[in-house]
Symmetry: C2
Subunit: 439 residues, 2 copies
């Protein structure tokens, strides 16, 4: 390796993650030379407000409020984009790639909406675009999907990929509280932002599902292709229903494809997860992703889904890989073959369902509901009756594997039954995984 000049890194954005990245990079030249093969140097850090006092220990001359000028510099090897949101991040990343820099990003919204075109620009320029931190922060997931599983066929991915909603649902499970108090606690504890809409609506998880679909199935989706249901409607009664069936309510992102088929079905919604499923025990703000494949079988990846240091760890891993490749002059990549996706409609989903039905007269309702289900050709695996927290009698049913459209049709009829007190609540079930030998 003839080259000995340091690799120069520009950092865009210096919030919690950026500060951690700068801190870990700064003044550790010798150590980074050992990891990378050459020293790594911070060439500039772009921030919104230069006036704000910062204590990252770096030369004040490195701060700038002109990110565009920074990414246009000829001497920048790698741009680390930590701005979040689509613009100006997209324009800056495109400019950086066009100026020959490799890019490391933690920006899920950007990658979900513009991943394929950014990959195209990177491939044209012969530079790298990495974004391990964009999904499940610290958990090494994207590189394993792209490389380690490159010779296998992924059939299904089931993930808890949003720490905020997992924290809220975990609190609801532990305390029996409703959604609002648990959300307030999450905000107070710093696990939710002041405006938690992107998290609780499931939109954040949907963006991650789009990124995972591209890597797992080499299929391109728009975020709008993802079936989306957030957690704002999850009640203490749902959580209690789940407990009564040895389940927990989790917000899951789920990607499925039959081997050899082009169609994918990608969804984000609260689900009742069996206690013995490996995702059920994932508490707090952790993330975990179960990847099922034709050859390898089920694989579980689990770790911190957010936080400055964990996210910075993932960013720096990408940075080391990009730096090594740059040093070796590896500027070409096999562009990921990502084809536009054929999306299976949610109405075609076939799975098992939980139905929670508040009833005026349990015996009467049981008979009437059974008739409706039979009329629609649907079968239940179990029915239990319990006294809900509201004081009402409640039927808790678990169906066999049925088609969602058929079930929705039946539910419309059930809602009109005189013995039924309120529209039934539907939650999809996630049952234990074959082949993960849990105790």
């Amino acid at each position: 390796m003839a080259r000995t000049r340091p690799l120069k890194v520009a950092v865009l954005g210096c919030g919690v993650v950026g500060t951690e990245v700068v801190r870990r990079l700064h003044g550790a030249g010798a150590e980074w030379a050992g990891r990378v093969g050459a020293p790594v140097e911070i060439a500039g850090v772009a921030v919104r407000d230069l006036a704000r006092p910062r204590d990252a220990g770096i030369d004040p001359a490195l701060w700038t409020d002109d990110p565009l000028a920074l990414v246009k510099r000829d001497d920048i090897d790698i741009v680390v984009e930590l701005l979040g949101g689509v613009e100006p991040a997209r324009s800056l990343v495109v400019t950086a790639l066009e100026h020959g820099a490799s890019v490391v990003s933690a920006n899920k919204a950007l990658l979900a909406e513009h991943g394929p075109s950014l990959h195209g620009t990177a491939a044209e320029q012969g530079v790298d675009l990495f974004y391990e931190a964009a999904v499940a922060a610290a958990v090494p997931l994207l590189r394993p999907l792209r490389e380690s599983l490159g010779g296998d066929d992924v059939t299904r991915v089931t993930g808890i990929v949003n720490g905020t909603t997992n924290y809220i649902l975990d609190r609801m499970t532990r305390t029996g509280s409703g959604f609002e108090p648990a959300l307030r606690e999450a905000v107070e504890q710093g696990f939710a932002e002041a405006d938690p809409t992107a998290d609780v609506s499931g939109a954040d998880a949907a963006a991650k599902a789009v990124i995972l679909t591209a890597l797992a199935f080499r299929t391109r989706l728009d975020p709008a292709d993802v079936y989306l249901e957030g957690i704002t409607e999850v009640t203490a009664t749902d959580v209690a229903d789940a407990r009564s069936r040895d389940r927990v309510v989790k917000l899951v992102a789920m990607l499925e494809r039959a081997v050899g088929r082009e169609e994918v079905l990608v969804r984000v919604h609260p689900a009742m997860v069996a206690r013995t499923h490996p995702l059920a025990g994932v508490g707090g703000a952790d993330n975990a992703v179960l990847v099922e494949t034709a050859a390898a079988g089920p694989l579980l990846f689990r770790g911190a889904g957010a936080g400055g240091a964990p996210t910075a760890g993932a960013v720096l891993g990408d940075l080391v890989t990009a730096a090594r490749r740059r040093l070796l002059g590896h500027r070409e990549t096999v562009p990921p073959v990502v084809v536009p996706g054929h999306v299976r409609p949610m109405a075609d989903l076939r799975t098992r369902y939980h139905l929670g039905i508040d009833v005026a007269d349990p015996a009467e309702a049981l008979a009437e509901v059974a008739v409706v289900l039979r009329t629609h050709g649907l079968r239940t695996d179990s029915v239990r009756r319990r006294r809900a927290e509201s004081g009402r009698d409640r039927l808790v049913l678990e169906t066999s594997v049925v088609r969602e459209a058929d079930l929705l049709a039946a539910l419309a009829s059930i809602a009109t039954l005189p013995s039924v007190a309120a529209p039934p609540r539907l939650l999809r079930l996630i049952d234990p995984v074959d082949g993960l030998g849990d105790e």
Copy 2:
């Protein structure tokens, strides 16, 4: 990419894994072209006994019993080594590398003993050497350690990396049986080989620990540097002791290094793992590895640790990566900086311990043991008395964090106490991990 001639693959060894690799590669040229960027073709499969009938569906002319001639061929791009054992695998891999082929191996014994020199040969030749399948089979672990965590500092790795011993201990836990009946069942069920010595002695796990140490700590060890204790001495009483403390007995491989320190301590032994630790629930023949780092925090990787299809999946992932790199002409690597390790002696281990002591007179023994421990400056966190399966009274102690040498000295004294009926049993404890939010 100008090149369109197929990449040619030689497979050495065609047992369970080899058959699966050949089956998945064969006749799927178009699909592999999509994964790799060019067709992939089997150029030859070396087996020991040509006379044995085989049904892998490939051209009979591809079979050979001369692996040396196969790896010397000029047209071979990638050699997949699935022979196991050190020789002739080592010579064949060296010859393959020297003839310019990249090598994918699943051979932990080979990599543990000769990894650094094989990496040296590969680097000189500008070819790749990958071996994801050598540790935890299907679980993507080595590539994440090498790349995704390349910007982080691993502080500890705790793994269940041997499926046979995990199966045996799992059976003992579930049935209450002793080691011998559980071993027999494992052999009958195909989870243990007829000669299970390498597994039950811990040697197989130790080889994997050496490979993990090189990747996690960039430190080179000999297998003899690993403290080694197998599971042959684990008794039904140990398992019952563990249950009485809400723990399970697992064979773990554990690698530790303080950040910034050169010294490593690497050990393989049965341990009493707290039920709430993420490794405790790993049943059957599964593998799971917990990686703790400075930035990312605890990360869990879990999946099938053995079996034809899972191992083949990992091999094919390496094959795809090696093929892509070959196609792009990426023949240089940053050689992993692996320095000879300074091994901390086991006597310096500081951890918590379980002591199980069969006693003649519980009250008397308790007093005497307490005196001995105090004399050695050791503290216990808890003592319980229980009636062992043998009918004897038994003291079950958990110590505070103490130094192993101090504890062993105390145990020598305890063994001579008149109130103590047999030499005390020592097992090291593994407590829950901070930062994995288990429910």
